[in-house]
Amino acid sequence: MFDVDENADRNGRRILWMSLCGLGIIMILGAITGLLSAHMSEGGGPLNIASYTVLAALMSGTLLLAFVIWKLFRQMKRSDQKVPQREKVYNRFFIGSFTFGGITGLVLALTGGFDETEAGLISNDAMSPTLAIILSIAIGVIAPAITLYWHKHAVDEQEEAAYRFGALIAMYAFWFIAPVWWLLWRGGMLPEVNGITLYFMTFFAATAVWFWKKYL
């Protein structure tokens, strides 16, 4: 019985490593795309040995990280035990949200929702009004509704406490980082304060603390 609990207890670290490996895959794929784009912009043609070597190394890295994710996922599946109803709802929401977010991002990237000059969704460049409205409704209306349902049906009091502490740290992060950045900008040492960058900083702080309190 305690072995089952100990194994399930390692799932937090497994999720963390799987997330880091996923991030690593995204970064490596970005590097491969950048390498090929640079090659094409230089006139294309056959790749030289050095480029092939770099590409092979990057591809091997991707495969290795994918293998690690698969291994960790298998270990998580093996740690399966009777899951409380509240946790079942939670897991479905968690997987559903990630899948929906991932597919939406992929579709936006592939269908060219942005101008050719744009860096993508996370930038200050212009986007079409239709896309802006769709994304605003998704973030401003649908996401809060899902979050409300999530909090009422999936989250228990221990996780609520984790969220509260995460929110507190995020608030402190904002309170201290924003004025320091602003002062250093005034001193000519940093670029102008960027609201979206601050948003992601506080979001990351809240998420990291929530994860630590809930799983580790």
Binding site: P84, Q158, E159
Partner: protein, 70 residues
Amino acid sequence: MKNQLKVLRAMRNWSQADLGEHLDVSRQAVNAIETGKYDPSLPLAFKISRLFDLPIEQIFDDEFDGGKHV
């Protein structure tokens, strides 16, 4: 806060997930309470007390020694 949760569920041969199901909380919550990382709310403490048919102070120990410490 120290507690007897691990012992009590071992007596019933329950896993953390089993206890979580009885209390309608996640396995992580049970683990956090057992390891003292999280102190349950009063309603959850009462629920635990009723589940094991024991008074709260026999399950949880706030390490209060009768007012001798400052």
